[in-house]
């Protein structure tokens, strides 16, 4: 009999004995090799977590494969991380290397710990969402292929958190990531009066526009868009299927960088736009992968040990960042929305 509001399974049912025994009693951890965390409990117990990359969009076959490995190497216990990696919870040190070999044999990379690139938090894209300006999984695959070495090694100055969101709804922490790829539109919605008339609440639609670009049109019982004011956020499309925003010729990807959410050292910070637009070139989005790799490489070779991407840029200054990367600075980089004032350089001190 199905029950209503029963809530999720209790997590304790999901924990391996070593965790149940040492719950809240972990003492410290080390990272013996990329992809492996060794946590040591107060009583000396040792837990090895083997972190494996996942495409996140997975079939039940994949899950069953992973379960088979978990059964074999860790008594049937595993977990997923907040970045969609898989963690095998190994309590027998001797099983760590065999597990890694088994994973690698299946083409599953082990890594993402310490000063590495972890998995890319991402979204639905053309696979399942109705508002995307680009695909998500495809770009993620292309970028992770390209940056694979940074996942399996720990050769970056610090953790590198990359996110991908296929529209400005930004389902994920793209707005606070070291590097964010965001699907963007570049042309105003084309109003399909018929669709708007059907079931769209006009006042809500008008109110949904951040820049006040939408006015009701009593004649057509639909709306008109002031194209000058529209900045293509697509929020109106979320409100009404009649606000057709997708435009294959002009949709693409923006790159923002330098955000973080941890409080370590510096306060959490927003990602900042560095490339306003790159074209949608499926299947492998070469412009996007190249841009991301370039930023990662300039960061890796210039930042100090322990410096997150944004910390590095803030230390050297954004004007220097644009010089070092050779990325062109345009009027698009300058904020013109509500909190723009705070971004203006109200100081005569800057680098040339």
């Amino acid at each position: 009999m199905p029950r209503i509001d029963a809530g999720p399974p209790h997590y304790k049912e999901m924990l391996p004995p070593i965790i149940l025994e040492n719950y809240g009693k972990w003492r410290y951890h080390v990272i013996p090799r990329p992809g492996v965390l060794k946590h040591v409990a107060e009583n000396g117990a040792e837990l090895y977590s083997v972190r494996a990359g996942s495409p996140r969009l997975v079939s039940i076959d994949f899950i069953r494969d992973m379960c088979a490995l978990a059964d074999e190497y860790c008594d049937g216990f595993l977990r997923f991380t907040s970045r969609n990696n898989i963690e095998f919870l190994v309590s027998d040190a001797g099983k760590v290397e065999p597990l890694i070999s088994a994973l690698e044999a299946k083409g599953i990379p082990v890594g993402g710990t310490g000063n590495s690139l972890s998995n890319i938090v991402h979204t639905q894209g053309w696979v399942h969402c109705h508002t995307p300006a680009t695909d998500a999984s495809g770009i993620v695959k292309a970028v992770m292929d390209d940056l694979h070495e940074y996942f399996t090694d720990m050769k970056l100055p610090a953790k590198l958190k990359v996110a991908m969101a296929c529209c400005l709804n930004m389902c994920g922490a793209a707005h606070c990531s070291d590097i964010a790829m965001v699907g963007v539109h570049r042309t105003p919605p084309r109003v399909n009066d018929e669709k708007v008339q059907k079931g769209t609440e006009i006042p809500s639609l008008v109110a949904s526009c951040p820049t006040g670009a939408i006015r009701p049109n009593p004649k057509t019982k639909s709306v008109v868009v002031n194209e000058e004011k529209c900045m293509y956020c697509g929020n109106c499309y979320t409100m009404s299927p009649g606000m057709e925003i997708a435009d294959p010729k002009n949709d693409g990807v923006a790159i923002l960088i330098g955000g973080k959410t941890s409080n370590a050292r510096t306060a959490p910070s927003f990602s900042r736009m560095v490339i306003p637009f790159l074209p949608n070139n499926p299947p492998r989005w070469p412009e996007v992968t190249e841009a991301v790799r370039h930023i990662v490489e300039v960061y890796a070779s210039n930042a100090r040990q322990g410096e997150r991407l944004g910390e590095w840029v803030e230390r050297i200054g954004w004007e220097k960042f644009f010089i070092l990367t050779g990325i062109e600075f345009t009027d698009k980089h300058i904020d013109d929305y509500i909190f723009s004032r705070e971004t203006f350089r109200t100081s005569a001190a800057f680098k040339f």
Partner: protein, 395 residues
């Protein structure tokens, strides 16, 4: 459809990172909807355009959310995608599973769905991608029998999530898994029956490293901290010195408040307790030698969300320190007061952070009954535009 070529997607089966295309292909081998999905996606890759549209609301009896209706705009060509809804299942705290429980999910999803999933969705749910209107209820019934329940969607509480916390992390300042589970169960009604101006997300991180990115991704971010002094084990400090760690450079100089003093001669590290802001940096670098204090609890922050409409907001401090105990009554009570206020004051599709931004922290604090403290702000206001209350002025 099975004969259709997918030259573009094929390109995405190359390369070292595991391929989602391969995954769809695996599902396609067994399921016609997954097979259609390959075709539809290839088409999107050719046209650079999505092919999903808005559509009717679908759901489970007794629930107002948890299922996202999805329909292709090319139902003639991809009939198996005419309905391709998402079911959101509430994950267990910390995303821990037994293989048994995962296999159960797979079995049910093989029966009623496309066989495709996201482990996990960005909010934290188990995302089951692609089923028909008809199959939703029976699928739910079986999931329910297996001990799973729906997550959130729509203008309701969204599925809370938490970091691995005390289950495997030495830094955890409160029991994130228990808190997440407890709060999720307490607010089942809020989670399952949309009733607010907009969505409301809660995330639990055990310390200021914020491994759930809660400050950016949740309306209410609950971050572990301590009120006394971090603890330093001087023997372990000496061991780090011996290992060659540059304590002055890598730890002291990077402490944001310069609260740490390293004595070269004695190889001793000391903290000025009241200067420490509990940022976690020194603990991260020297987990064997430094750990949180003993009077543990959490900081409550409010207002995080992404870009639309008024800009992205990060959550900000509304309670500097709260003990995470007594069945979380203090937190629950606070959440209820916040929701009540938001319900009364929020506009449709206005996140709590935007409502407070529009109406002011002063009004919010007064009406929700929270005492104003300097910890709520980086710095006080720069303008002199103060509102005075009737009882504060001379009549």
């Amino acid at each position: 459809m099975s004969e259709k070529k997918t030259p573009q997607l094929d390109e995405l089966e190359k390369g070292q990172w595991p391929s989602f295309v391969t995954e769809i292909r695996k599902a396609a081998a067994k399921n016609p909807a997954a097979e259609d999905l390959l075709g539809l996606l290839e088409r999107s890759y050719e046209e650079k355009k999505g092919h999903w549209k808005h559509g009717g609301i679908v759901g489970v009896k007794g629930y107002g959310g948890g299922v996202i209706g999805r329909y292709t705009d090319l139902p003639e060509e991809y009939p198996n995608l005419a309905e391709f809804h998402t079911i959101r299942l509430n994950q267990p705290s910390g995303w821990f599973y037994t293989t048994k429980s995962l296999r159960t999910i797979c079995d049910i999803w093989e029966k009623y769905g496309s066989g495709l999933t996201n482990l996990h969705g960005s909010t934290g749910d188990i995302i089951l991608l692609g089923t028909t209107t008809e199959n939703i209820q029976p699928a739910f019934d079986e999931f329910s029998d297996a001990g799973f329940d729906l997550g959130g969607s729509g203008s309701d509480l969204r599925t809370p999530s938490c970091c691995v916390g005390p289950a495997r992390c030495e830094h955890a300042c409160y029991d994130t898994l228990d808190a997440c589970h407890n709060i999720t169960n307490e607010f089942q009604d809020e989670l399952h029956r949309p009733m607010w101006p907009y969505k409301f997300k809660i995330k639990f991180s055990g310390c200021a490293n914020d491994c759930t990115a809660s400050i950016a991704r949740s309306d209410c971010s609950i971050i572990g901290t301590w009120r006394d002094t971090l603890r330093i084990d001087q023997d372990a400090v000496k061991a780090y010195v011996q290992e060659g760690l540059d304590i002055q450079g890598a730890v002291c100089d990077k402490c944001p408040t310069r609260a740490l003093k390293f004595d070269y001669k004695k190889n001793e590290l000391n903290v000025i307790a009241e200067e420490c802001t509990r940022c976690m940096h020194c603990i991260n670098v020297m987990p064997k030698a430094i750990r949180p204090g003993q009077e543990k609890g959490a900081t409550i922050l409010l207002g995080g969300k992404s870009t639309i409409v008024q800009s992205a907001f990060m959550a900000w401090v509304i309670v500097p320190f709260m003990k995470m105990e007594d069945d979380y009554e203090e937190l629950k009570d606070l959440l209820r007061r916040i929701w009540e206020w938001w319900d009364e004051n929020g506009k449709t599709r206005e996140r709590i952070g935007e409502t407070i931004y529009r109406l002011g922290m002063g009004k919010f604090l007064r009406e929700v009954g929270l005492p104003p403290v300097p910890q709520m702000v980086f710095r006080p206001r720069a303008n002199p535009y103060v509102f005075w209350q009737q009882d504060e002025i001379n009549k």
